[in-house]
């Protein structure tokens, strides 16, 4: 294995002074930027005229990261070349950047992390970011906090950086956000629930145990997830162990937090100062560009510290012009606030550039209006055009009198017009050239073939006479049904530039409920992203009330019995039996109380009925309870009151009714239930058989049990007064 020697060497360096490592996942694993990303990877798309990757590297450099692994999948040779040419490869940059090419079969961040693990890249705690991050947060402080925490708590494996904002902040993605439940004191993340724009959720399901175990929790829906994670070395190995983890948030974080077996914890770092955001879709592209131009990312701003080392000059009102005096502005042109114009660009007479970014070597013809648009390098726009809230690729030519309405994405090298009218949210790319041998990957090929079928849609008038372009079909909701989760069609609308999606908010009620009923029987944990489906609510909020027995339940009960019988028969240790039960519970996704019922029932049934007198019976009970009683508290949660209730219900239904008092006494002797628990149980109305619908016999049995309990409490009281007496008498004798 070639990487081996390298890692040992890093180990040596790491011993001297901790080298801070970072892993950049320089692939988006989705298609939100197509067709802009057909010819180049997303991380090389320019934002404010510098490739996204440069912004990310700069953000990491700001935090003092010394070694960076860039994991690239699509167009890796371009990423590699870009890194080689950048200032980072020069000696003296103080940063070592290693591009890692991963296999084409890497389809998710999870796969990429498994690759990180198999290559053995990271040797200590590392920073995991996406290749589309723009941040000025002091990540080194987060790393320090993380390491500090690790000293006392080895199970804190990850720290997620989140930025405070407000729920409707422009930079906070409406389509892909989350509700975080945090412990107010330790800022441990207790629960993570993804929220999508569509289907819309109005409820967050928070497991009851969280509220029971933590006195102070914060439930927050105002955090921007920056996807900056400070991870321990275990994290890639956990991905390796759980081969079904795809997404870092939806699968990994959710999996770790809900797992009883791993006992790992994840913390959050709520960044109050600084800025961090991801360019995860075209909408956030717009938002982050605006944030950069209005200087929220300071000192990462074009005039101060442009990541690609282009010099810009700031004029009042956040207007940035290339500093080398190559920009030619006509006397009558108007440059609005929050605009940036790259070197060697020419702005003609009467042009208005409003809140837009114009790349280098662009030409904008007379009287054209460009507002809230992003124009990449080398693009020519003719006279009298109107371009609104769109992204125009590099080398595009928009001829005279064309109108590009909001939300359009125009791929590299496209020629449209003259007189083209592009309707909102169109996606346009260059038609495949017959002569040219296409060396694209199969993926984009198939995309293009798809397109050709649709070519009759291209009414000649729409794109203009001289156009070489094709219009992408509008993905209809039906076609996209295979895209579940975040990338469903309606949800993607929340991530499009220029789309306020105001119509979805009103019209979606019907679709939500039908989706819910379809999936309610689905045991997949994805179901909890669904709206107010009753079954889901019940499953994620275990309550004391018995759940109606379904065939599924019976099966589980059966499994529990079998596993316990095996344990009894083969004499397993209590711990082993407990682990087995936990696994079983995870596998069948049932509540804790169901397991408890099973365990108590199995233990009580285990007790042999002896006819030779109460003393022998008592010995028999003590033997069983001594051996197995502990198991009741080891199945994942301690709730002694419920244990007694379950015991009572079970005894009431079986012929072991007379044993109730003795079993309870034995449990009390073994400290499995305490005196206070018995009192608490005794006070419950349900313990007296009130409100229980069962046969008359059962209710009377319950009442009998309650009476036994009452006697026991009486004894406690007597004992207590005895002890007091003894205590006082002893004091007297002293």
């Amino acid at each position: 294995m070639p990487p081996k020697p390298a890692t040992t060497k890093e180990n040596l360096i790491g011993d001297d002074d901790e080298v801070l490592q970072a892993v950049i996942l320089a692939d988006s694993f989705n298609k939100r930027f197509k067709p802009l990303t057909t010819q180049k990877p997303r991380c090389l798309l320019p934002i404010c005229n510098a490739p996204l990757l440069d912004w990310t590297l700069e953000s990491l450099a700001l935090a003092g990261v010394q070694e960076i692994f860039v994991i690239c999948r699509s167009h890796p040779e371009q990423v590699k070349a870009a890194i080689k040419q950048s200032k980072w490869s020069k000696p003296g940059s103080g940063i070592k950047i290693v591009p890692i090419m991963t296999a084409k079969e890497t389809f998710s961040p999870g796969d990429a992390l498994r690759d990180v693990y198999t290559r053995g890249l990271v040797t200590s705690d590392f920073v995991l970011v996406m290749g589309d991050l723009v941040s000025n947060i002091r990540i080194d402080e987060v790393v320090r906090a993380h390491k500090e925490r690790r000293k006392t708590n080895k199970d804190a494996i990850m720290t997620m950086v989140v930025k405070e904002s407000s729920p409707y902040h422009r930079t906070r993605s409406k389509g892909d956000s989350a509700v975080f439940v945090l412990d107010s004191e330790t800022s441990e993340c207790l629960h993570y629930e993804p929220v999508m724009g569509h289907p819309r959720t109005n409820v967050a399901h928070i497991p009851r145990e969280i509220l029971a175990e933590h006195p102070n929790v914060e439930i927050r829906n105002d955090l921007i997830d920056c996807s900056i994670d400070v991870c321990s070395v275990e994290v890639p190995s956990l991905f390796q162990d759980n081969f079904d983890y795809l997404d870092i948030r939806r699968d990994f974080v959710h999996g770790i937090l809900t797992s009883d077996l791993l006992m790992k914890s994840i913390h959050c770092y709520v960044a109050k100062d600084g800025y961090a955001a991801r360019v995860q879709d075209t909408r956030s592209y717009d938002a982050v560009s605006k944030d950069i131009l209005s200087r929220w990312t300071f000192p990462l701003v074009p005039d101060d510290h442009h990541p690609s080392d282009q010099a810009y000059e700031l004029r009042r009102g956040n207007k940035y012009l290339a500093k080398d005096h190559t920009v030619s502005l006509a006397r009558t042109c108007k440059i609005g606030n929050n605009s940036l114009i790259g070197a060697s660009s020419q702005i003609s007479d009467g042009v208005q550039v409003l809140s837009s970014v114009v790349g280098r070597n662009c030409t904008i013809g007379p009287r054209t209006v460009v507002s809230d648009a992003y124009i990449f390098d080398g693009t020519t726009i003719g006279a009298d055009c109107v371009i609104t809230r769109s992204i125009i690729g590099a080398g595009v030519s928009v001829k005279d009198n064309s109108v590009v309405e909001r939300g359009c994405l125009i791929g590299d090298g496209v020629v449209i017009g003259p007189d083209a009218k592009i309707i909102p949210f169109s996606r346009i790319s260059k038609a495949p050239d017959e002569d040219e041998e296409s060396d694209d990957d199969e993926e984009s090929d198939s995309d293009l073939e798809e397109l050709e079928e649709d070519e009759e849609n291209n009414v000649a008038g729409k794109l203009g006479v001289g156009s070489n372009a094709i219009l992408w079909p509008k993905a209809a909701p039906q076609e996209d049904e295979d895209e579940e989760g975040v990338d469903n069609f309606e949800n993607l609308r929340f991530m499009r530039i220029g789309d306020d999606a105001s119509d979805i908010d009103i019209s979606d009620a019907g679709t939500v409920s039908s989706d819910g009923s379809d999936e309610s029987s689905d045991e997949d944990s994805d179901a909890d992203t669904d709206a107010e489906s009753a079954a889901t609510t019940a499953a994620s909020m275990p309550s004391g009330t018995p759940i109606p027995t379904t065939p599924f339940d019976a099966e589980f009960r059966n499994e529990v019995n079998q596993s316990l019988e095996r344990a009894f028969a083969e004499g397993h240790s209590v711990d082993n039996a407990a682990v087995e039960l936990k696994t079983l519970r995870m596998a069948s996704n049932v509540s804790l109380s169901r397991v408890r019922e099973g365990v108590v029932a199995a233990i009580v049934d285990r007790i042999k009925l002896v006819n030779t007198g109460p003393a022998a019976q008592r010995a028999e009970i003590a033997a069983v309870v001594n051996r197995w009683g502990e198991l009741i508290n080891k199945i994942g949660g301690v709730d002694a009151v419920e244990t007694i209730t379950v015991l009572q219900t079970h005894c009431a239904q079986s012929e072991r009714l007379p044993l109730f008092g003795q079993v309870l006494a034995a449990l009390y002797q073994d400290d499995i239930v305490e005196e206070d628990d018995i009192r608490a149980w005794h006070r419950l109305p349900a313990s007296q058989g009130e409100g229980v619908n069962g046969s008359v016999e059962e209710v009377t049995n319950l009442k009998k049990c309650w009476a036994v309990g009452a006697r026991m409490i009486q004894q406690f009281d007597e004992q207590a007064s005895d002890e007091e007496d003894e205590g006082s008498s002893e004091e007297e004798s002293d």
Partner: protein
């Protein structure tokens, strides 16, 4: 060219500082000046050169890089100019060139006779009276070897001056502040802090500190002053004009002092100086000599074009507003020379009108332009 003759290690040092300046990890005039000096010392000690021009080129090359990295920290350029000045001076004494007296005693009358000083300086340099042999083909390092000790001494002088600048600025403090006066100051300035504390040893007086939003440096200043036993009030920026009628003197710090006698200073200085003018209250500026910058502020009447991060003014969490409001958070104000009465420096007290002369004495004219972009701090015409 110059960069080639710079050794790898010193080039790395320069790059390193350039990045630090860019990322604003080194902020403040004095910190920037100190860092620059330390780097320059390394550069000079490692440099290989066989005549003075090569050495000057090396230093200029390093300087250009640093200034380009952060054109808004004027102290970087000033330090480089100062070091160049000292080096030339040492060179001239070492080679027995025309002593600098003829240059420093430059006056208007001589200007008429002799013409531009630039030409004169060049003439001095071309004179070659070798005590130290330049461009020796047998031993190209001999020149460097001979000159280096004096050069290091020269740089050490600059360093010493920088380290003692607060003491030297404040040594005459008691002559400027009288008993029972009320002094108004603004934000946090180490120079002003040292000045006021030094005066407090001799006089009993009151300071009104303006908190200077949004950095709120005034809070720190007020704490420090009251800890030193000075009776201190902290007031918001909005009450500057209201309290001005009771104030005897305004004492503020500077970020950079420009050749026309104006200065860049922390936001709010312009407000305070204007209010002081309205009440005919004297405005005193305390600053070290390293802040003298041979530049003019040609285009902006009120501010330097150095804007910070809007988050100090409007929280990022105010989502709705962020979308609709353009927030401006300027770092520095430009204060015109007419509003300032006197500069107190470690080289004595001077009126704004005399600053040009100090600058001429401090730096060589040909060093004023390290690169084209520093001729004017801002070349924008907005």
């Amino acid at each position: 060219m110059s960069t080639e003759s710079m050794s790898m290690s010193s080039q790395r040092l320069v790059d390193n500082l350039a990045y630090k300046l860019k990322r604003r990890q080194v902020v403040g005039s004095r910190a920037a000046a100190l860092e620059t000096l330390l780097v320059l010392r390394q550069v000079v000690s490692k440099a290989r050169f066989s005549n003075i021009d090569q050495l000057v080129d090396i230093i200029r090359g390093a300087g250009r890089k640093l200034v380009e990295a952060q054109p808004k920290e004027y102290a970087v350029g000033n330090t480089i100019r100062k070091v160049l000045h000292h080096i030339r001076e040492e060179y001239q004494t070492a080679t027995g060139g025309v002593p600098s007296t003829s240059r420093t005693s430059f006056s208007i009358s001589k200007f008429l006779v002799q013409g531009q000083p630039r030409k004169q300086a060049v003439a001095v340099q071309s004179e070659d009276r070798p005590l130290l042999k330049e461009n020796d083909p047998d031993d190209p390092d001999s020149f460097a070897k001979g000159l280096k000790p004096v050069l290091m001494e020269a740089i050490q002088d600059v360093l010493d001056e920088l380290e003692t600048v607060y003491d030297n600025v404040s040594k005459n403090a008691k002559d400027h502040i009288h008993s029972d006066e009320i002094i108004l100051t603004l934000g946090m300035s180490r120079t002003v802090e040292a000045f006021l504390k030094s005066a407090a040893h001799h006089r009993k007086y009151t300071v009104i500190v303006v908190e200077s939003a949004p950095s709120y440096g005034g809070h720190e200043m007020a704490k420090s002053l009251s800890a030193a036993g000075i009776s201190t009030f902290l007031v918001p920026d909005s009450s500057i004009f209201a309290v001005m009628s009771r104030v005897n003197k305004v004492i503020i710090g500077a970020h950079a002092i420009l050749a026309n006698g104006g200065m860049f200073a922390v936001t709010g200085s312009q407000l305070a100086a204007t209010a002081a003018r309205a009440h005919s209250t004297p405005v005193v500026v305390c600053a070290g000599q390293f802040k003298f910058t041979p530049m003019w502020n040609l285009y902006h009447e009120y501010a330097a074009l150095d804007f910070g991060d809007p988050s100090a003014v409007l929280g990022f969490e105010e989502g709705d507003l962020v979308d609709k409001v353009d927030v401006v958070n300027p770092y520095y104000d430009y204060v015109q020379p007419e509003l300032i009465d006197v500069y107190i420096t470690n080289y004595g007290d001077h009126p704004p009108s005399a600053i040009y002369r100090l600058i001429k004495e401090t730096y060589y004219d040909e060093d004023n332009e390290l690169d084209s972009s520093t001729t004017a701090p801002e070349s924008s015409k907005s």
